[in-house]
């Protein structure tokens, strides 16, 4: 099954566009055409041509940047969909699927019916697909790309003989060399003597030929199904009491945690969906500060969210899914590994359910001599406590946005008013000159250099003042203990 326009079909499914359309991909410093629709092909575009040429060919071309990662993800979605036909589905290149339908074709009423079904479904989804069906993987590949159709069982030769040699999954160089020899079709190649071919092109060519004509076996490697972390529960009678819902959640959690344990993973985010009798669905989302798979520790975290749910006429279906999963290998418990970190993480999760997990923060040191940038504030759930804190000079305990005071000259004023207080300078230590970081533009440092003074006032307050020599003015920025 080959999707010649997978990338553009994917984009056009979401935003349908009439007229020529192409996706561009930046490669080797040029904007190239990556994928285009039927309309654009009619205008003479081809894959890999430069985007400027394409615009010249077709002035009303609409374009959009390509997203190869998204396309790969979409192909995996299609792969999962294709398991409705057979369990053995693999991925072929970046725009094809390979299905081993041995023994499952009769479920759809035979091979032709199955192909019709596939085509109809893909058409409805807005995807261009070319499907080839053959005894071997090689034959199916050739048919999908060159001459769509289906090879009769047992006679791959008849169908394939007319196809060009490029249908054998060969490199471009080999194909050109074969054409120069006059071997244009698979039938020609089949008729030629084998030893000289092997000597000239290596064993690869003949291997591909044999694979296509079922003289050599070739396997399909189906992709492993990703573990699915979702469990659900349907109830015979609707429930609405808090305790009942929590009991049901506990059952779901037990199942989910068993799954997580089997995979040695832990949930980082959970989503509980409660479907009410009137088809309304309500969700409780939970984010955890550390990966967890301990039902007894997760359950109390749901209490708050479940308490806020409006049960209406009752809930009759519940689904619990781990939306975010991280590896969590089994740890050896020793007397050294106390539960302190666990308790702290539980606490962070619990506070996080109320104020949001990103609002529980911790300080991390940063390498900057600008006082406001000497530290980073990071979400505690997604960071580890960080390394040494060095204060080369005494730094204030509190920092606030600079508050201007009246003063003149480079020495701190004798008396000044700050926050409606009259203060008298008793001792001033300084200046400590800090220059702005020119490589990072900062609004607050527009005024240039700063000379910082540690000023102790007779009234007791110990303040951090600075003077800006390039733009004369005095400001208070912090307070010492």
């Amino acid at each position: 099954m080959w999707f010649p326009r997978l990338a553009s079909d994917r984009v056009l499914r979401r935003h349908p566009i009439d007229g020529p359309f192409a996706l561009t991909l930046r490669q080797a410093n040029t904007e190239g055409v990556h994928c285009f629709n039927m309309e654009a092909e009619r205008q003479g575009l081809y894959r890999g041509m430069s985007f400027t040429d394409a615009r010249a060919f077709c002035p009303n071309l609409q374009s959009r940047p390509a997203d190869p990662v998204g396309d790969a993800r979409f192909l995996h979605v299609l792969r999962r969909w294709a398991t409705r036909y057979c369990p053995w589905v693999g991925i072929e290149g970046d725009d094809g699927l390979v299905l081993d339908i041995t023994g499952s074709a009769h479920l759809f009423g035979g091979e032709p019916m199955m192909l019709t079904d596939m085509r109809q479904r893909l058409n409805r989804a807005g995807l261009t697909a070319r499907i080839g069906l053959g005894d071997t993987r090689g034959a199916a590949w050739a048919l999908a790309r060159f001459g769509e159709g289906r090879a009769e069982a047992g006679q791959p030769h008849d169908t394939l003989a007319g196809l060009p040699v490029a249908a054998l999954r060969l490199e471009g160089k080999t194909v050109i060399a074969l054409q120069r020899l006059g071997l244009r079709t698979i039938g020609d190649l089949e008729g030629a003597a084998r030893p000289p071919l092997a000597r000239r092109f290596g064993p690869d060519l003949l291997l591909r030929l044999d694979q296509a004509l079922s003289r050599q076996p070739e396997q399909i490697a189906p992709l492993k199904e990703r573990p699915h972390y979702g469990v659900r529960l349907s109830l015979p009678d609707p429930i609405g009491l808090f305790d009942d819902v929590m009991a049901a959640t506990s059952r779901l959690l037990d199942q989910l945690c068993a799954k997580l344990k089997a995979q040695e993973t832990g949930a980082r985010g959970l989503c509980l969906t409660l479907r009410r009798v009137d088809q309304e669905a309500q969700t409780v989302e939970l984010r955890l500060a550390s990966p967890l798979r301990d039902a007894a520790r997760i359950l109390p975290l749901f209490e708050r969210g479940v308490g806020e749910i409006d049960a209406g006429y009752g809930i009759d279906q519940m689904r619990l899914e781990a939306t975010q999963v991280e590896p969590l290998p089994v740890h050896q418990i020793s007397h050294m590994s106390s539960g302190r970190a666990d308790r702290l993480n539980d606490l962070i999760s619990r506070i996080g359910t109320r104020i949001g997990l990103e609002n529980v923060q911790r300080f991390l040191p940063a390498d900057s001599h600008i006082p406001e940038r000497g530290f980073i504030i990071a979400a505690a759930a997604y960071s580890e406590p960080g390394g040494p804190w060095v204060a080369l000079r005494p730094r204030p305990l509190r920092l606030f946005p600079p508050e201007p005071i009246v003063g003149a000259g480079p020495r701190p004023p004798e008396r000044f008013r700050w926050r409606r207080m009259c203060l008298t300078t008793a001792r001033a230590t300084g200046p400590e000159r800090i220059a702005p970081e020119w490589w990072l533009p900062d609004e607050n440092w527009r005024s240039g250099l700063r000379d910082y003074w540690h000023v102790e006032t007779r009234q007791g307050r110990r303040l951090w003042l600075f003077y800006t020599p390039q733009n004369p003015g005095w400001f208070v920025q912090g307070e010492f203990p």
Binding site: G386, G387, A391, F400, R427
Partner: protein, 192 residues
Amino acid sequence: MTAPTDIPLPLRNARVHEACGPGAVSFAVVAAARGGDVLWVREAWQTEAINPVGLSAFFDPSKLLLAQTKNQTETLAVAEETLKDGAVPLVIIEISRPLNLREGRRLQLAAQAGKSTGLCLIPEGMGSNAAETRWHCTPVFDSGDSTLMRWKIIKNKSGTLGSWHVRWNATSHRLDVVSPAGERPGSAEASD
């Protein structure tokens, strides 16, 4: 006169205390320097930030967790939750409006349940009746030293009131209680 040894520190465990005055934050960090994790609950809109670089003279800032809340209701909810849990030995709560009796009592009960200590930093004159002790802290100018502070206990449920001059010893990381020179009982206000 109060003797230097009488100072009721460290703060009584499993209770909630209060500190006010311009040196309240210094009081809080000295209390936090006792060891263990600290959770600092504050409202996100406040512009006066804590500077961890300055904090490092007192204790390791990696032990500090910060909870930024939307309003005081959230602040109190987070504080109660944390006090009840007991995983964090000291919770510092920045208060912006006075607590009523019910809120103060709830914090006390939570601290009792979790055996952890709470410390509310209150604006002056906004104390709650439920607090175990209330401290008024002011920095004091001293010609030879730049960490001198006066800590006055203005409410104490299980002891007497008093006033002490203290200074922070940054090398040994401990608090020295000093007797102020040239001051007689009753002349504590004279230095202002």
